[in-house]
């Protein structure tokens, strides 16, 4: 069964590539509007040899990971805190309501103003997007912890809030927090491209340069690069997740 599913998938991809190859070749669209798949390997090699590919990937990965770490930590910390304290949640609720709907990209003017057209600005934009996702996931996860387990902690003498946090709340909330982080992993890539469009080094910037020169084959090379990088991150995260969740039924 698995083999025939793989065959179908392979067939589907092959048909897709063939149609894609034919459309510009047969002149159905202008030569510069859409590159053919056969042009891609050459374009990729050019980028690789000039060092541009490696430099762009390194730069983007750099602020992608930094943004994840900063936004992730802040999101977990604040999410857990508001999940544990109703008062804190109430105090922040209207602030959250005002700030939350502002899309990460709308922060770009301030990012440039505060940090210049530098790496830090990109990290800032990415971190904001990550923060909100992880914040709500963590808060919900803490709230959803089984009351009965918290009562067990009380029954065995763990009455202080920090004891309950380390012994019951955090371990119980980890699945929910991880789901938030995994979602943020994907969203963060979208923010990477946008954050780099205004001039910070990286994949997004290179794509922008290439498209302004109508080098559409290079644009596609980087699109596929991003897809591959995201796939790698996700696979790595799933591996981590299943190690941490070995205890689940």
């Amino acid at each position: 069964m698995k083999f025939s599913q793989h065959m179908l998938a392979g067939l589907g991809l092959a048909v897709f590539l063939i149609v894609w190859e034919l459309v510009p070749t047969l002149g159905l669209v202008g030569p510069n509007i859409l590159p053919t798949p056969s042009q891609l390997p050459a374009a990729f090699m050019r980028e690789l040899r000039s060092g541009a590919w490696l430099a762009s990937v390194a730069a983007s990965l750099g602020h992608y990971l930094m943004g994840l770490v900063v936004g992730g930590f802040a999101g977990v910390a604040l999410g857990v805190a508001t999940g544990m304290s109703r008062r804190l949640e109430a105090a922040l609720s209207w602030v959250v309501r005002v700030l939350r709907p502002i899309p990460g990209l709308a922060w770009i003017p301030f990012a440039i103003l505060w940090f210049g057209v530098e790496q830090t600005a990109a990290v800032f934009i990415i971190a904001i997007g990550v923060f909100w996702i992880v914040f709500f996931a963590s808060q919900g996860a803490i709230r959803g912890v089984d009351r009965e387990l918290i009562e067990v902690a009380d029954a065995f003498g763990f009455r202080a809030w920090h004891e309950k946090l380390t012994k019951v709340l955090l371990p119980a909330a980890t699945p929910g927090i991880l789901v938030g982080l995994r979602t943020a992993l994907g969203q963060a890539w979208m923010a990477v491209v946008a954050a780099e469009l205004f001039g910070v080094h990286g994949l997004g910037q290179r794509m922008n340069q290439a498209s302004s020169l109508l080098a559409t084959d290079i644009v596609v090379v980087y699109m596929l690069t991003m897809a591959a990088l995201y796939g790698l991150m996700d696979a790595g995260f799933i591996a981590l997740q299943s190690r941490l969740m070995a205890w689940k039924a």
Binding site: E148, E151, V152, T174, K248
Partner: protein, 256 residues
């Protein structure tokens, strides 16, 4: 020398302006080493009573005095109706849970936990996760977790009611063996009168709305006891009659 002395215990709580009294004027005294079963209709306040003793609920009135054995390390430990093991910890770490409050070293905690686990006959599953075990096994581990903290009093809230009959009977016997071996005082809440009469030295029946002590019956049947013993059945019948009368009186208040 009484280990637990409760006088005039009352508990009421407010919810959206309504004041509900769960317990009122409840008196109860337990001597050291006694096995006391608490029975009564659902909702009469048996679990609430245990929670007050365990300091998980605050009484509105009355006094509760607990004088545990000074040689014991902890006053009380509780076993709940559902095992409530921490699913992310292996069995041994679950049993050692209560010991993390002490100043024992990691090795000492492991050793104590292993001993407690062995005393309920489950040393071989020390490395498994709770989800890999049956309900009966999980309850035994919950019991081991309580025993590991070396309490002088064991509070048990309908610990076997969620299990099937054969498992329940096996665990009842195991509980008797363990409590005798370690000389524990046991407070055992159940709605199963036969279970209560089989296990306990004394059966206390709670009744009324709000709940109070209605009867205290000594079970003068020597151990080891046989289930279905005539003397025990007679005592169980009397208690059941009393509780049925209570329930009937309560039903007269029903509108439907």
């Amino acid at each position: 020398m009484n280990v637990i002395d409760i006088k005039g215990l009352g508990l009421a709580f407010e919810q959206s302006g309504q004041r509900t009294e769960i317990l009122r004027g409840l008196d109860l005294s337990i001597a050291a080493g006694e096995f006391v079963a608490i029975v009564g209709a659902s909702g009469v306040g048996k679990s609430t009573l245990l929670r007050v003793l365990m300091d998980l609920a605050r009484p509105s009135s009355g006094t509760v005095r607990v004088s545990p054995d000074p040689k014991a390390e902890r006053a009380m430990a509780m076993v709940f109706q559902d095992a409530r093991l921490l699913p992310w910890r292996r069995v041994l770490a679950n049993v050692a849970f209560g010991l993390e409050k002490t100043h024992l070293s990691r090795a000492e905690r492991r050793e104590r936990a292993m001993t407690a686990l062995a005393s309920v006959g489950l040393a071989q599953v020390a490395d498994r996760f709770p989800h890999q075990l049956s309900g009966g096994q999980r309850q035994r581990i919950a019991l081991a977790r309580a025993l590991a903290t070396r309490p002088s009093i064991l509070l048990m809230d309908e610990p076997f009611s969620a299990l099937d009959a054969p498992t329940r009977e096996a665990l009842q016997d195991e509980l008797l063996r363990v409590s005798e071996q370690f000389g524990k005082t046991v407070l055992f809440v159940t709605h199963d009168i036969d279970e209560a009469v089989y296990l306990a030295d004394r059966v206390v029946a709670l009744g009324g709305k709000p709940g109070e002590t209605r009867a205290s019956v000594r079970i003068d049947v020597p151990r080891p006891r046989r289930r279905g013993d005539a003397a025990m059945r007679a005592i169980a019948e009397k208690i059941k009659e009393q509780l049925h009368a209570e329930a009937a009186a309560a039903r007269d208040d029903w509108v439907i």
